[in-house]
C-alpha cells in the first residue's frame, strides 16, 4: 500500500528472491566452512612430512575457493539485497532501519574477509608459513563473524521474540530465540560443505597415497557435522512460533495420509540428503582412492540440495509474514490488521500507487490484485491464482476473502465488501468468466437475506423447505482442486473456510 508492487508476470518477485538466495546460500555456506577448512588444512600441511605436496593441493582449493566465493558468492549476496527490496520494500526498510549498524558492521567484516583472503592468496609464494596460517585463521574467524551478524537478522524474521513495534529493543531482536540454534546449525553445515568442497578438489590428486590421506582428512569434517546437525535442528524446532511449527507438522502428518505437502517435501529433502551424505562419506572414507571427481561433485550437490530443502522449510514456516507476527508478506502491518474497522475501509482510498480514476470494477479488481496479492501470487505462473480460482463462483470468492486468514497461511483481506467483489470479478475474468462485481454483490446480498430468513424461521420453530442451499453455492469449488506447489491444499482449505 505504501510502496508500488513489482508486477512480475509468471515468476513473481518472491521466486526471484528464492532463486538468488538459493544460489547464495550454497556459496556463502561454503565460503565460511571452506575458510575454516583452509585454516585447519594449513595447520595440517605444516605437520605432515609431505606438507609441500599438500600445500600444492591446497593452492588449487584456494583458487577455486577465491573465484567461486567472490564472483558468485559475494555477487549473489548483494543480489539478495537487491531482490528483497523489490519483493518487500516495507519489510526491507524495517530491517535496514532497525539493524543499520549490524549491516554496517557486517560490511566491515566483508571488507576484512575480502582483503585478508587476497593477502592470503596473492601472498602464497611470499608469505611465511606462519603468516599464512594466521591469515587463514583470521579469514575463517572474520567470515564466521559475518555469519554471526546476518544470522541475527535472518532469525529475527522468523522468531522476533520479545521485539515488536512497541519494544524496539535491538538486542532482543538480534539475540532472538532462533539465534543460537540457527548459528550452530549453520556453522556445522558450513564445516560440512568445506569438507565436501575439499573432497571435490582432492578427487583429482594423482598421487594415490596423498589422495587417500587428503580425502580422509576431508571426510573428518563431513561426518561429525552431518550427525550433529539434526540435534540442533530439534533445538531450533522448539523455539519456532506455535503457528510455524503447526504449519510444518501439518505437512509432515499429511504424508502419512498420502498427501505430499510442499513443506513436507522440502523437509524430507533435507533429512534424506543428510542421511545420504553420511552414507556416501563413510564409503569414501573406507575407499578413498575410488572417489572420482564426478562422484565428489554429486555428493557436494546432494549437500546443496539438503540445504535448499531446509531453507525452504524455514521460509515457508514464516508464512504469511515477512517478519513473523509483525508484518505480513503483502506489507500489511499486523497491529493495523487487528482493527476490523481499518481492514474494512475501502482499500484504494488508502493505497497510494494506483490511478486516481478507475472507470470499471474490473480495473479496480486488477489494481487490488496488484497491490495486495502479487507480492506472493502470480496470475498464471508461480503460485498461480488462475489455478487456485479455477472453480470459483462470485459468491464463493467474496466469502473466501472474508475468512482466508483464519487458517494461518494468508493475511487478512484489506478492503470493503465492494473491494472483495471487484477482486473476485477480476480473478474470475482470468478464466474468461464475466461476472460483474455489482451482480456478485447482489447474489451475496440475496444469500444473506435468505440466511436471515432461515434463522428467523428456525427461531420461530419453522424449518423452511424452499430455502436454497447455502455454502457452497458452487459445489465445484471444493472438489478436484489439486494440492498446490506451496503446501496449500486448496480443496482442504476451502472446506475448512466454509465450515
Amino acid at each position: 500500500m505504501n510502496y508500488p508492487v513489482w508486477d512480475l508476470a509468471f515468476l513473481g518477485s518472491g521466486l526471484v528472491v528464492a532463486i538468488i538466495a538459493t544460489i547464495h546460500i550454497f556459496i556463502s555456506h561454503f565460503a565460511i566452512g571452506g575458510g575454516i577448512f583452509l585454516w585447519v588444512a594449513e595447520w595440517w600441511s605444516g605437520r605432515e612430512p609431505d606438507g609441500a605436496k599438500i600445500r600444492e593441493w591446497l593452492h588449487k582449493y584456494a583458487t577455486f575457493f577465491l573465484i567461486y566465493t567472490t564472483v558468485f558468492g559475494a555477487m549473489t549476496g548483494v543480489g539478495i539485497w537487491f531482490a528483497i527490496q523489490l519483493a518487500s520494500a516495507e519489510g526491507t526498510s524495517l530491517l535496514i532501519h532497525q539493524f543499520v549498524f549490524v549491516w554496517a558492521s557486517e560490511w566491515v567484516l566483508f571488507l576484512g574477509e575480502l582483503t585478508v583472503l587476497y593477502l592470503y592468496y596473492y601472498g602464497w609464494k611470499t608469505n611465511s608459513p606462519r603468516l599464512q596460517l594466521w591469515l587463514a585463521g583470521l579469514y575463517a574467524l572474520i567470515s564466521w563473524g559475518s555469519l554471526f551478524a546476518i544470522n541475527g537478522i535472518l532469525t529475527f524474521m522468523l522468531t522476533p521474540g520479545d521485539w515488536n513495534t512497541q519494544n524496539l529493543d535491538i538486542a532482543a531482536g538480534f539475540f532472538n530465540p532462533g539465534f543460537w540454534p540457527s548459528l550452530f546449525i549453520r556453522t556445522l553445515v558450513m564445516i560440512l560443505l568445506g569438507g565436501l568442497g575439499g573432497m571435490v578438489i582432492a578427487s583429482r590428486i594423482e598421487n594415490e597415497e596423498l589422495k587417500e590421506k587428503t580425502i580422509r582428512f576431508c571426510v573428518k569434517f563431513v561426518i561429525p557435522a552431518a550427525i550433529l546437525t539434526p540435534f540442533f535442528a530439534v533445538w531450533y524446532w522448539t523455539v519456532l512460533p506455535a503457528s510455524a511449527s503447526k504449519l510444518i507438522e501439518g505437512g509432515v502428518v499429511g504424508v502419512g495420509g498420502g498427501r505430499m505437502e510442499a513443506i513436507t517435501a522440502y523437509f524430507l529433502t533435507a533429512v534424506v540428503a543428510g542421511a545420504m551424505i553420511v552414507l556416501a562419506s563413510t564409503v569414501v572414507y573406507l575407499k578413498p582412492k575410488a572417489l572420482t571427481m564426478m562422484t565428489a561433485i554429486a555428493i557436494f550437490l546432494i549437500g546443496m540440495t539438503g540445504i535448499t530443502g531446509a531453507e525452504f522449510v524455514r521460509e515457508m514456516a514464516r508464512k504469511p509474514f515477512v517478519i513473523h507476527g509483525v508484518l505480513y508478506s503483502n506489507s500489511l502491518w499486523k497491529n493495523k490488521a487487528a482493527d476490523p474497522d481499518y481492514l474494512a475501509q475501502p482499500y484504494l482510498e488508502k493505497a497510494k500507487w494506483h490511478p486516481s480514476e478507475m472507470p470499471s470494477s474490473l480495473e479496480r479488481g486488477e489494481w487490488l490484485f496488484r497491490l495486495q496479492c502479487i507480492s506472493c501470487h502470480t496470475r498464471d505462473g508461480y503460485r498461480a491464482m488462475k489455478k487456485r480460482t479455477a472453480s470459483w463462483s462470485g459468491n464463493f470468492g467474496v466469502k473466501w476473502f472474508e475468512r482466508m486468514h483464519e487458517q494461518g497461511v494468508m493475511p487478512p483481506f484489506e478492503g470493503s465488501l465492494e473491494d472483495r467483489a471487484a477482486l473476485t470479478e477480476y480473478l474470475l475474468s482470468l478464466h474468461g468468466k464475466k461476472e460483474n462485481a455489482a451482480d456478485i454483490l447482489k447474489a451475496v446480498e440475496a444469500e444473506l437475506n435468505a440466511e436471515k430468513t432461515k434463522m428467523i424461521l428456525q427461531e420461530a420453530g419453522r424449518v423452511p423447505d424452499a430455502i436454497p442451499p447455502e455454502i457452497p453455492d458452487n459445489p465445484e469449488a471444493v472438489k478436484d482442486v489439486p494440492a498446490d506447489e506451496n503446501g496449500m491444499d486448496v480443496q482442504k482449505d476451502n472446506k475448512e473456510v466454509l465450515q
Binding site: 505504501n2 510502496y3 508500488p4 508492487v5 513489482w6 508486477d7 512480475l8 508476470a9 526471484v16 538468488i20 573465484i67 567472490t70 564472483v71 559475494a74 555477487m75 549473489t76 548483494v78 543480489g79 539485497w81 537487491f82 531482490a83 527490496q85 523489490l86 520494500a89 526491507t92 526498510s93 524495517l94 535496514i96 532501519h97 532497525q98 543499520v100 549498524f101 549490524v102 554496517a104 558492521s105 560490511w107 566491515v108 567484516l109 566483508f110 571488507l111 576484512g112 575480502l114 582483503t115 585478508v116 587476497y118 593477502l119 596473492y122 601472498g123 611470499t126 608469505n127 603468516l131 591469515l135 583470521l138 524496539l168 535491538i170 497510494k352 500507487w353 494506483h354 490511478p355 496488484r370
Partner: protein, 382 residues
C-alpha cells in the same frame, strides 16, 4: 502540532506524488552523520569503480592498437580488473545501505519502477567479474579473444552504471512515478525522458579515464622505486597522456549536466551556498590533483602520486556531497530530512565505529606484514 508523518502525507497529496510514508523506525543517528559516512564510502566506491572501468577502457585501447611496447601496462590494467571489481562492489555496499536509511522511501519506489532492469544488475555484475577473472586466468595460455573478454566485462559495467543513473535520477523526481507505474507496473520502465540522464551517466564514467591514468602513474612510481626504471618511465608517460584527456571529457560532461539541469536546481547550485562551495572546492582539488599527477610523472618518488590520489579522492568527496544537496533540492517539496524522527541507536553506532576502527587497524597491520614480501618479489623481477 502536525506530526512528521502526517505532514509528509499532506505534502504528498498536495504535490500529487505517491511518496511512501517515512519508516516508523526513523534514523538511528542524526542524518548528517549518515550523510558524511555515505560521502566517505561512496567516494571510495567511485575511486574503485573509476579505476576498474577506466582500466578496462584503457586496456582495450592499448589492446586493439596492438602495440607490444604497451604489454606491461596492459598486464597491469588487465590483472587489476578482478581485484578492482571486488572493491567496487564491497565499497559500494555502505553508500547503498545509507541511501536506503536516508531516502529509502524514494529509493525503493524508483527501484521497483525499474525493477526488471535493476535486478539485471546482479547477472551483469557476475558477467563483468567473471570475465575479468577469465581474462586474468587465461591471458597467458590463450592470447586470442582477450579483447572480447574484457569488452564484455566493460559493457556489463557500463550497463550497471546506466541502470544506477536511471534509478537515482528517478528517485529524486517523484512527480513522474504514478503515471509511470500505471503504464508500466511490470518494472520495465527506465527514466529515459530525464534530460540529465545521459550527461549525468557520462559524468560518472569519464573520470574513470583520469583516475585509471593516475593509477598507472602511481604504479609507474612504484616500479621506479623497485628499480624497474624503464617500465616505470613507460607507465608514467602513458599515465601523463591520459589524465588530461580524461579530465577534459569530464569537464565537457559537467557543462552538459549544468546546461540541462532544471532552472531552479542550477540556480540553487550557483547561488553562493554550501553546494557552490563544494562545487568550486571539487574543481580546484581536481585541478591540483592533475597538476600533481603531471609533475609526479616527471619526477621520482611515490609521495607526489599518492598525494595526487588523495586530492582526487577529496575532489570526488566534495562532488558526492554536492550531489546529495542537489538531490535534496530536487525533492522539495516532497521530502526533507527533518520529517524523519530520530530514534537514537548510539550504542549500536558505537559498536559499528569500534568494529570499523579495529577492522581497519587490523588490515593495515596485515598489509604492512604482507606487502614487503610482495614488493621484494616484484623488485626481483627486474
Amino acid at each position: 502540532m502536525i506530526n512528521a508523518s502526517l505532514f509528509a502525507n499532506l505534502l504528498t497529496v498536495a504535490a500529487g506524488a505517491p511518496i511512501p510514508n517515512t519508516d516508523p523506525l526513523g534514523y538511528g543517528i542524526p542524518p548528517l552523520i549518515f550523510q558524511l559516512l555515505s560521502y566517505l564510502t561512496f567516494s571510495m566506491h567511485l575511486m574503485a569503480m573509476n579505476f576498474t572501468v577506466g582500466g578496462a577502457i584503457l586496456f582495450l585501447w592499448l589492446h586493439f592498437r596492438k602495440n607490444d611496447a604497451s604489454l606491461p601496462i596492459r598486464r597491469y590494467l588487465g590483472g587489476g580488473l578482478p581485484l578492482g571489481m571486488s572493491y567496487v562492489v564491497t565499497l559500494g555496499i555502505p553508500p547503498l545501505l545509507f541511501v536506503q536509511v536516508l531516502y529509502g522511501q524514494m529509493f525503493y519506489s524508483s527501484s521497483i519502477l525499474i525493477a526488471a532492469h535493476w535486478i539485471l544488475i546482479i547477472p551483469l555484475l557476475i558477467t563483468a567479474y567473471g570475465h575479468f577473472y577469465l581474462h586474468k586466468l587465461t591471458r597467458d595460455k590463450r592470447k586470442k579473444r582477450q579483447g572480447a573478454i574484457v569488452l564484455i566485462g566493460l559493457i556489463a559495467m557500463l550497463l550497471i552504471g546506466f541502470f544506477y543513473s536511471n534509478n537515482i535520477t528517478l528517485s529524486q523526481t517523484p512527480e513522474k512515478w504514478l503515471s509511470m507505474y500505471a503504464s508500466k507496473p511490470h518494472g520495465m520502465a527506465l527514466n529515459l525522458s530525464e534530460p540529465t540522464l545521459f550527461p549525468r551517466f557520462l559524468l560518472f564514467i569519464t573520470p574513470a579515464i583520469a583516475v585509471s591514468g593516475l593509477g598507472i602513474i602511481l604504479a609507474g612510481a612504484f616500479l621506479t622505486r623497485w628499480g624497474r626504471e624503464v617500465e616505470g618511465a613507460a607507465f608514467k608517460a602513458f599515465g601523463k597522456s591520459v589524465v588530461p584527456l580524461g579530465l577534459l571529457l569530464q569537464a565537457l560532461c559537467a557543462l552538459w549536466v549544468v546546461a540541462v539541469l532544471p532552472e531552479r536546481i542550477s540556480a540553487y547550485v550557483l547561488s553562493g551556498n554550501t553546494a557552490t562551495l563544494l562545487l568550486v572546492a571539487g574543481v580546484v582539488l581536481v585541478a591540483l590533483a592533475m597538476i600533481l599527477a603531471l609533475v609526479a610523472a616527471k619526477s621520482k618518488g611515490i609521495l607526489l602520486p599518492m598525494l595526487s590520489s588523495v586530492l582526487a579522492y577529496a575532489a570526488i568527496f566534495c562532488h558526492a556531497a554536492m550531489r546529495d544537496m542537489v538531490r535534496l533540492q530536487y525533492l522539495v517539496p516532497h521530502f526533507d530530512l527533518s520529517q524523519v524522527p530520530l530514534k537514537a541507536q548510539w550504542g549500536m553506532f558505537g559498536i559499528f565505529v569500534v568494529t570499523l576502527v579495529a577492522g581497519l587497524a587490523l588490515l593495515i597491520v596485515l598489509m604492512l606484514k604482507v606487502f614487503p614480501g610482495m614488493a621484494a618479489a616484484a623488485a626481483a623481477k627486474k
